[in-house]
């Protein structure tokens, strides 16, 4: 059997027992990338030589009987939002097209220490802003189940590469659903941990109070293995939490007895696709068959989630992205052209006798800021910077930002109340299966609504997991989302594993996988 059909846990066992080498395994994934990525376009960059060299080193160390890290020899794909030392990190933006950070993100350092083989950087919506990966400045990623469709986003490349068998494990980030939504649309397992569980150091910030790094994999077991490496306190991230990291890879195997599942009434209303509805309800019955009890609950402020999110996230983004001004690094407009343009504008105005307008022209610095940002950012990023700048402006702060913070607190309170009655909340990841590429690019609001079921977890800071629970008649994956109380990652993984032991949706492969 092709190693690509095996889970990361199984591969690790084979690596450890010497049945396969990391070089062979890495080579197999590189071949898969070579074969399919020209169509899927999940990767922005793959450094085959470097990956193989690294795999070779790990193999020799293994051969020499040296102690190896937790992921020794397993290839892992990295979302291009995470800084990798000395290697291009673009965030899907022209602004950082040639940016090479002089440091590793905390999770990259952890992966390296765990002897993972970093196989490539995956495509994403520019600065993680989007739900289809179409906002990447470089390429559009396709859904491996239907190349005409989106893999979701913003971690579209991260989900698609796992779905297409181009990497066993991949690391994504989730600000409003950016791990769970693409995982759902691509039929893989993706976990957004509780805020503070994983260090954000070296994660290029979109919305600092919402961003969280998490694993994407083929199963809960594999995700548990990766999360175990990613999670942990980091003194360099003041918002990371100093709490022991459970041995997720072990605890994931223990089924939960007397699981109390909550179903949110509001999640099963208007707008939910019939096939998705049916698959989710069927998944709930699977849980019941495994001994779970189900209770209908309400998250009354959930309906304000998207609105709240689209105030808070752009506010933070407008501030976080202010640093891309062309001064210190990143894209800077052509200075000679800028100076020449200003001079000719001045001459034209002065010749026309429009002295005042000539005097009011930008100074070169301001023009440099304007042009560099105008050229470096794509339309969605600009839209959110404008939204955030507006909402934080004097006279609007209270009405928008402050009010959004209040609603955010209410959303969290809803969850706290719910988790007093149930262990986990189950429901759809998205209202529909993967949509067509280009379908929503001209309708930002429709695009924002794909986060409907996922944003609240970010606003509340809690964890959530998405995994396949069925397929539509068109053969597209349908995702189930579980959400848990703060730091209940173990419970989320256990519940997912229980389901995956009872079903085989997560072991289905798109046609290209086996070609």
């Amino acid at each position: 059997m092709s190693p690509l059909r095996l889970s990361a846990v199984e591969l690790l066992a084979q690596l450890n027992s010497g049945q396969i080498t990391s070089a062979e395994l890495t080579q197999a994934y590189l071949r898969q990338i070579e074969k399919h990525d020209p169509k899927v376009k999940a990767f922005l960059r793959v450094d085959a030589a470097k990956a193989l060299q690294r795999a070779g080193e790990i193999d020799s160390r293994r051969k020499a009987g040296k102690k190896l890290g937790r992921l020794a020899g397993l290839p892992v794909a990295i979302k291009d939002l995470l800084c990798t030392q000395g290697e291009t990190t673009t965030c899907g933006s022209r602004m950082l097209e040639n940016f090479k950070p002089p440091y590793d993100a905390a999770v990259i350092a952890r992966l390296k220490a765990a002897d993972a083989v970093l196989i490539g950087k995956t495509n994403m919506d520019e600065f993680a802003m989007g739900g289809s990966t179409e906002n990447s400045a470089f390429q559009k990623t396709s859904n491996p189940w239907d190349l005409a469709r989106t893999p979701g986003g913003s971690s579209g490349g991260a989900a698609a590469c796992v779905a297409a068998g181009m990497a066993p494990l991949s690391v994504g980030t989730d600000t409003g659903g950016s791990i769970r939504q693409p995982a759902g649309l691509c039929g893989v397992t993706g976990l957004k941990p509780t805020y503070g569980r994983v260090s954000r150091y070296g994660l290029v910030a979109f919305a600092s109070s919402l961003d969280q790094i998490g694993p994407l994999a083929r199963s809960a077991e594999d995700a548990a293995l990766l999360l175990e490496v990613l999670a942990g306190h980091d003194p360099l991230d003041s918002t990371s939490v100093d709490m022991a990291v459970p041995t997720y890879s072990e605890s994931v195997k223990q089924p939960l007895a007397n699981l109390r599942l909550g179903l949110v009434r509001e999640h099963f209303g208007e707008g939910l696709d019939g096939e998705v509805d049916a698959a989710v309800r069927e998944a709930v019955r699977v849980y019941e068959s495994l001994g779970a009890t189900v209770k209908w609950i309400s998250l009354p402020h959930g309906k304000f989630g998207v609105a709240t999110y689209y105030i808070i996230a752009p506010c933070e983004a407008s501030s976080n992205l202010a640093r891309y001004d062309g001064v210190h690094y990143g894209h800077r407009t052509d200075e000679k052209k800028l100076v020449a343009a200003l001079a000719s504008e001045r001459t034209a105005l002065e010749t026309a006798g429009r002295r005042a307008e000539a005097d009011a022209l930008d100074n070169p610095l301001v023009r440099m800021y304007r042009e560099s940002r105008a050229e470096g950012f794509g339309p969605e990023v600009k839209r959110r910077i404008m939204l955030g700048t507006y909402a934080l402006s004097a006279g609007y702060y209270d009405a928008y930002y402050l009010k959004a913070l209040k609603v955010r607190r209410l959303i969290r309170q809803d969850y706290d109340a719910a988790f007093a009655e149930v262990d986990l909340i189950a429901g759809p990841v998205t209202a529909n299966t993967a949509f067509k590429l280009g379908e929503k690019v001209d309708d930002p609001l429709a695009m924002y609504l794909v986060d409907l079921y996922t944003v609240s977890a970010n606003l509340a800071g809690i964890g959530g997991i998405a995994f396949p629970c069925g397929f539509s008649s068109a053969g597209l994956p349908v995702g189930l989302q579980l959400q848990g109380p703060p730091f209940a990652e173990e419970r989320l993984l256990q519940a997912t594993h229980m389901f995956q032991q009872a079903t085989d949706w997560h072991r289905r492969y798109p046609a290209m996988f086996t070609e």
Binding site: L203, S238, S318, S319, A322, V327
Partner: protein, 489 residues
């Protein structure tokens, strides 16, 4: 005050806190390193980096706020102040906006010369923030590039905002002097204005007396004052300028937008700085990368305990324990704690605070100045100086000869006794002194007549003659004997 107005001044002081490392990263804060050598990905604003608060900076801020009698917020937070400038690499400054860690304190100022009455200057707030980098602009604007040095970016600053409680340039200077002294005593800053460790902005206007009562003139912010003297002169200049403007325009507060003026230290004038077209909106919001800071009871107690004796208390103690005048305690305390300790030790040994104070203020401080050393490096310790003062107190030597001995002690490192011995200085005993006096009285009948006629200053002539004959003659005692003997004639 004869002017028909009151000057109203409030000051904003930025103080660099003396931490080893920056406020949110572990880069060194040392001044004077080559440009951009004390930087890291965080303080140059690279993506993905995250700030981590330097607790030592917070501790120093807390200490200062307590010394300024401020209320301490038990929970405080960080905010982002957003604006674009090349020396602000993140596009925002991490500061404190609506919940500063301290507020509502005061600092007492006084003038030993009595030009104003002792008063309390209110402190509105003291908050922490990070410094920006430095821009170095080419003098020929547009001819060359501006350069940016980010060594300073991220250095911890304490911003201390006073109430508009100062009523003259003199009070403003006194406030700054007292504040600087306090900060120095606390050891929280080196307060070096040349290196930018202490920066002052002033807000000034007038309350003009009119038949309808006092009327406030528009407030002007004055920047670019690089010394306390500059602040004093700028405030004097501004008060006068406001008065002229008032007489010409009768503009009241609110009639025109707040103006910012820069002090020109060479021309001794303030000049209007270029108007910003729109009023700046800093779009403050809480920094989501940092967690709120909580101040524990222990931390507060420890900070309180670390204050030590503050300048105002120290002055009072010196006056009370050593019987010196406020003017003297002001000079001594103003010269720093190590000098005060020197004085206290000296006064303790010789038992005469006034004598000790005079010698420390004049001879010791002059020598420190000449040698450009601090009191700690001054070789003559209080015990050694006390030996000289004891000789004066015993009448073995007069003050002017003692000064010569002091100079020789400094130069040679010898003890007072050794120098006096080498110079043959011994106490002339009473009988020898009386004999010499008798001899001179007999030789100078005219002078004696003058003395008898009540011209006591004529005795100086005899003292001069006596010193020529025997340089060891104590002029004070000799004078007493002259008057006594002449009186008996």
């Amino acid at each position: 005050m004869t002017q028909p107005y009151t000057v109203i001044i409030g000051l904003e002081v930025h103080v660099q806190l003396q931490t080893r490392t920056k406020l949110f990263c572990r880069c060194s804060t040392k001044f004077g390193a080559p440009p951009n050598t004390q930087t890291c990905p965080l303080c140059i604003g690279m993506p993905g980096t995250l700030p981590v608060m330097n607790r030592e900076a917070f501790r120093l801020g807390l200490k200062t706020a307590l010394a300024l009698n401020c209320q301490i917020a038990r929970a405080t937070k960080w905010d982002r102040k957003q604006y674009y400038y090349p020396d602000l690499p993140k596009g925002y400054q991490i500061s404190q906006y609506d919940l500063p860690f301290s507020h509502d304190g005061h600092l007492e100022i006084n003038d030993p010369k009595g030009r104003f009455e002792t008063k309390r200057i209110g402190i509105i707030r003291a908050h922490l923030e990070e410094d920006a980098g430095k821009s170095m602009h080419d003098e020929l604007a547009g001819q060359a590039d501006s350069r940016i040095d980010l060594n300073r970016a991220g250095t911890p600053l304490l911003e201390i905002v006073s109430q508009p409680d100062m009523r003259s340039a003199l009070e403003a200077k006194a406030y700054l002097t007292e504040l600087k002294l306090l900060l120095t005593y606390l050891g929280v800053s080196d307060c070096n204005m040349q290196e930018g460790s202490l920066r002052v902005d002033a807000n000034i206007n007038l309350h003009v007396d009119t038949p309808e009562g006092p009327v406030a003139t528009p407030i002007v912010e004055v920047k670019n004052m690089n010394s306390f003297r500059a602040v004093e002169r700028a405030m004097e200049y501004e008060a006068e300028r406001h008065w002229q403007v008032w007489q010409e325009t009768h503009q009241r507060l609110g009639a025109v937008p707040k103006q910012t003026r820069g002090w020109d230290d060479v021309a001794n004038v303030t000049r209007a700085q270029r108007h910003k077209e729109e009023s700046s909106d800093y779009r403050y919001f809480p920094d989501p990368d940092l967690v709120p800071v909580r101040v524990s009871d222990t931390e507060l107690t420890e900070a309180q305990a670390s204050l030590g004796e503050l300048p105002a208390d120290l002055r009072r103690r010196l006056e009370k324990t050593h019987g010196i005048k406020p003017y003297d305690s002001d000079v001594l305390v103003g010269a720093g704690r190590p000098l005060v300790d020197y004085f206290v030790e000296l006064a303790g040994i010789c038992g005469d605070g006034k004598l000790a104070s005079n010698w420390v203020q004049q001879d010791v401080m002059r020598t420190l100045n000449e040698q450009k050393v601090e009191i700690d490096q001054f070789a003559m310790r209080p015990k050694q100086l006390a030996e000289l003062l004891a000789a004066i107190q015993a009448g073995e030597i007069d003050t002017s000869r003692a000064r010569e001995v002091f100079i020789e002690m400094v130069a040679s490192g010898k003890s007072a006794g050794e120098v006096m011995k080498a110079q043959g200085i011994v106490k002339v005993d009473e009988s020898a002194l009386t004999a010499l006096c008798q001899e001179l009285i007999e030789a100078n009948p005219k002078i004696v007549a003058d003395i008898r006629a009540g011209k006591l200053q004529a005795a100086s002539n005899l003292i001069g003659q006596a010193k020529k004959k025997n340089p060891n003659v104590n002029p004070g005692r000799f004078r007493e004997i002259v008057i006594e003997l002449v009186g008996k004639m």
